[in-house]
């Protein structure tokens, strides 16, 4: 049979056809009569409505346009072009309705027909797209970095130059006072550089997308308190009033990032206000709270209003008179606000002042995270803040007892002997209780309590602790009207006795 040419051709034909069927890409062979002569298996799988053998190309093109399988902008135009392009060499990428990308490549055949290949290039296209996006981002970052470094370079050079001169002069300076002044100036220069590097780092992290907001609910009052501590001295130095109108209510945002926004606002307000007040307050706007920083400073010109949020932007007059501002604060504000999706606004009148504001969503008070998570007796224990005078001559015992009492929130004034205790009392240390060891070097605890009460001029509640469990000793202490605990002192027993002496004197008999 192998020698029969006709049979061989048939076998070959069947083999070729079976092979074509196994190709991963769809293949369509159109005859010179513009009808489909052959379509392989992949063609049938890659199109919802594949052409049937014998179907006219023009009909197939119309059918495809009507099926909406390909995302076509102008289906009629597309059909006309396809019909006109029959037999021409071309390659087009189509996006299919389900999102995949198909590359359709056609080539003319020698007999006047054409062969068309349908390839799924979705993965290749996605990779290309990702690569292009990465390249664009890299170029943009590179450009931003270059611009940034040029500007930073300029601002960093200035304090560095001063620092070099100051160090040089300082090395030769004999006068102590002048040296001190120079050292102060050096520390200012170093601080400026530190600020700048810190800001650069923040912006770098923001650009790199490394800062992920962690949204929680909290009370703004905590944040205002921190800002007040941070800026009080700066404001005082300039003779400005810095006021915080503590708001009620809960906000839901990233606490640390909001603090950075507000601290930049307040720092700016103090920097650009010569006389008057910087006021931080809030207004409720529906489900949002607008936090405003109001100053009586020089204000921002209309034309500068947008640009103040740019990197290293400083108004022209500022460049002349101010050297301390970095021009990065508001840029950081803008980036952080964009990250948090909090609207930032600026209202200003030149010569009258500015109001910078950021709006944050209100939160649920039940979800508010307070300082209460760290549960501790030093905050709200029954003895929190109670002053106690401890007289104990053994150093180790005095230290361990002090630690125990401090853990309970007690303000401990410790003395090693009567003289030290009396001196503390005479110096004005006022206590609500005395805890005295019995066997002090030259005196008994009972005598020390008596002496201290004389100095205080009051029957201050007191207790004795003793390692001496001799019944005669215990009886003598009780006779003096003082409750006694035997060492080693059990913390719960000490606690009960202290509670009774302080709060329920009727129950204060010595448990031993």
């Amino acid at each position: 049979m192998a020698d029969d040419p006709q049979a061989r051709a048939l076998t070959l034909d069947a083999t070729v056809l079976a092979g074509l069927d196994m190709l991963p890409d769809g293949v369509a062979i159109w005859g010179p009569d513009r009808r489909l002569a052959y379509g392989n298996g992949a063609l049938r799988r890659s199109l919802d409505a594949p052409p049937a053998v014998g179907e006219a190309f023009d009909d197939f093109a119309r059918r495809v346009a009507q099926s909406h399988e390909l995302a076509l902008m102008e289906p009629d135009d597309w059909v006309a072009t396809e019909i006109a392009d029959f037999g021409k060499e071309k390659s087009v990428d189509y996006v299919l309705a389900h999102g995949a990308v198909m590359q359709v490549t056609q080539r003319p055949t020698r007999d006047g027909g054409m062969t068309v290949a349908y390839s799924d290039v979705t993965a290749i296209k996605r990779n290309e797209q990702a690569l292009r996006a990465a390249k664009e981002a890299a170029e943009a970052t590179d450009e931003a970095k270059s611009r940034f470094l040029r500007a930073a370079n300029h601002d960093l050079r200035q304090p560095l130059a001063s620092l070099k001169i100051l160090i040089y002069s300082c090395m030769r300076e004999e006068d102590e006072r002048v040296r001190a002044e120079m050292l102060h100036a050096m520390s200012v220069s170093a601080l400026i550089m530190e600020d700048l590097l810190g800001a650069l780092l923040q912006i770098g992290q923001l650009d790199a997308g490394r800062i992920q907001p962690r949204v929680t609910s909290f009370q703004l009052s905590q944040l205002f308190e921190r800002l007040a501590i941070q800026f009080r001295h700066q404001a005082e130095e300039k003779g400005l009033k810095l006021r915080f109108v503590t708001p009620r209510g809960t906000v839901a945002t990233d606490r640390a990032l909001l603090e950075r926004i507000l601290s930049n606002f307040v720092a700016n307000a103090i920097r650009f206000t010569e006389v008057g007040t910087v006021l931080v307050g809030c207004r409720k706007e529906g489900r949002m709270l607008r936090i405003e920083v109001v100053d009586t400073g020089r204000g921002v010109k209309d034309e500068d209003r947008e640009r103040v949020f740019d990197e290293f932007y400083r108004a022209t007059e500022e460049r002349r008179v101010q050297k301390s501002g970095l021009g990065l604060g508001l840029n950081i504000v803008r980036r952080l606000a964009e990250l948090l999706e909090h609207p930032v606004r600026l209202r200003s009148r030149v010569g009258r002042g500015s109001i910078f504001s950021v709006s944050v969503p209100l939160g649920n008070v039940w979800h508010s995270e307070g300082g209460e998570i760290e549960i501790s007796e030093t905050v709200a224990g029954e003895f929190a803040g109670v002053p106690v005078l401890l007289v104990e001559d053994d150093d180790i015992l005095r230290r361990s007892m002090t630690q125990l009492l401090q853990r309970w929130g007690i303000e401990v004034h410790a003395a090693a002997d009567e003289a030290e205790a009396v001196r503390l009392a005479a110096e004005g240390v006022s206590v609500r209780m005395i805890v005295a060891d019995f066997n002090l070097k030259s005196r008994t605890g009972v005598e020390v309590v008596r002496a201290l009460r004389a100095v205080f001029g009051a029957e201050t509640p007191a207790m004795i602790v003793t390692a001496d469990a001799e019944p005669r000793v215990l009886a003598s202490i009780r006779e003096a009207g003082l409750p006694v605990l035997i060492k080693p002192v059990s913390p719960p027993r000490l606690r009960v006795l202290m509670h009774n002496l302080l709060f329920e004197p009727g129950h204060a008999a010595g448990p031993n």
Partner: protein
């Protein structure tokens, strides 16, 4: 159940006599019901539980320590499971730690944290199955802030007056309230003023409070009778303020004494029976077993603690007698690792505190904390209205009658949708 296996002795230190005897009786019932149910299902790996009750009388340190020693030395108990005892100040932890057994209680004490964290190895077996008293403070401040911020009540000012009883529990709560107030926009205008308790004479301190003119008045003393007198004396000349009374006002005896004056009072509990299906079914079983006059909301504490212990002991492969530190450490490990939904909410031990965290003050997830429930007395003859927090509340806040002259309570469009949660 194998009849030849010895029972597992479980101690319970309960005030069966003295001023807290009413609560003690319920703790005893809770233990009995839990043990009966557990034994009916096969006990602990085939061994019957046997409860042994020790009376802690006035709940002083001496009485509670003596009870612990008696249970350990005479009865060789494998665990001590309670409701609460006020007064021992953790002195009972010492014999329990020496014996290395498990101790589960609802003492509601801040110093539990201090004791356990001071030596976690020694106190490995000591568990507090409810949140510390401390949490009443920030919880209450959040509650009044919630009323204010959601417009359910418009305070006349930001002034807060705090009166405290002389027990550590009351002082801690009063201090915690004062410590959290400013953060939420409240100013302490009076107190915390510690009044020697017990007492029924409040007129003098109430006069001082009136002079301070607060928008909120809190009394952290917790004896039902004393608080009823406080409230009666308050309404003699009421102020335009919210009145909050500590835990004791949840008791029937409070309303019985205060009568009409009780209406409008706010009270809260960090451990109370929930009114969901689980809670209702438990209450029905409890009343069926002990009679309609029983108080399931108190008995639920020892009941749940016992159930939780039994599950943990089963997970650990059994309980441990005094001295069997190794086995009891396994039980403690199981107790710590298990999130247990009791009829009063979730018991989930904090890994360091070995105490339960409250919802919503510490955890914002109701499945991980025990709800700090706020009640209001709407009708002094009826059970208290549970007004917060979601999702457990069943009623809503109303303006107390002594305040309702000034504003009209706003009807809620959705009676449960008050919190914006």
């Amino acid at each position: 159940m194998a009849a030849d296996l010895p029972p597992v002795p479980i101690g319970s230190m309960i005030p069966l006599t003295g001023p807290s005897a009413a609560d003690g009786a319920e703790f005893r019932k809770g233990m009995i019901l839990a043990v009966e149910e557990l034994n009916a299902r096969g006990g602990l790996l085939g061994r019957r539980f046997e409860p042994i009750f020790a009376d802690t009388c006035r709940q002083t340190a001496e009485e509670v320590v003596a009870a612990a020693r008696w249970l350990i030395e005479k009865h060789q108990v494998h665990a001590i499971v309670n409701g609460y005892n006020i007064g021992p100040q953790n002195s009972e932890y010492e014999p329990i730690a020496d014996a290395g057994i498990i101790y589960v209680h609802a003492n509601t004490l801040l110093q539990h944290h201090d004791t356990v964290m001071s030596d976690p190895e020694r106190y490995f077996g000591c568990f507090m199955a409810d949140p510390a008293d401390y949490w009443y403070g920030p919880g209450f401040i959040k509650f009044i802030s919630w009323l204010r911020d959601t417009g359910q009540w418009t305070p006349s000012s930001d002034r807060l007056a705090i009166v405290s009883g002389s027990k550590p529990y009351s002082i801690v709560i009063a201090n915690a309230m004062a410590a959290s107030a400013a953060e939420y926009g409240w100013r302490v205008c009076f107190g915390p003023k510690i009044v020697q308790t017990p007492t029924t004479r409040w007129r003098e301190v109430l006069e001082e409070v009136r002079a301070a003119n607060p928008a909120v008045l809190a009394n952290t003393h917790f004896y039902a009778g004393d608080l009823a007198h406080f409230q009666r004396q308050f309404v003699e000349k009421p102020l335009d303020c919210i009145v909050y009374l500590q835990y004791g006002a949840t008791h029937r005896s409070f309303s019985d004494i205060a009568q009409e004056a009780a209406v409008g009072v706010i009270v809260s509990s960090v451990v109370g029976l929930l009114r969901d299906d689980l809670g209702k079914r438990f209450e029905a079983r409890y009343n069926a077993r002990f009679g309609e006059g029983s108080t399931a909301t108190i008995g639920c504490q020892s009941y749940s603690n016992m159930h939780h212990y039994a599950v943990a002991a089963a997970m650990a492969g059994g309980s441990g007698a005094p001295g069997d530190f190794e086995q009891n450490r396994k039980v403690a490990y199981a107790l710590k690792g298990m999130i247990y939904r009791s009829v009063q909410g979730t018991i989930r031990y904090h890994p360091d505190w070995q105490a339960v965290a409250p919802y919503p003050v510490v955890t914002h997830d109701p499945s991980l904390g025990m709800p700090h429930i706020f009640y209001q007395i709407h009708d002094h003859r009826q059970p208290l209205a549970m007004i917060a927090p979601e999702p457990y509340n069943t009623e809503r806040f109303i303006l107390p009658p002594w305040m309702s002259g000034r504003t009209v309570a706003r009807p809620a469009a959705n009676p449960r949708g008050l919190t914006n949660l």
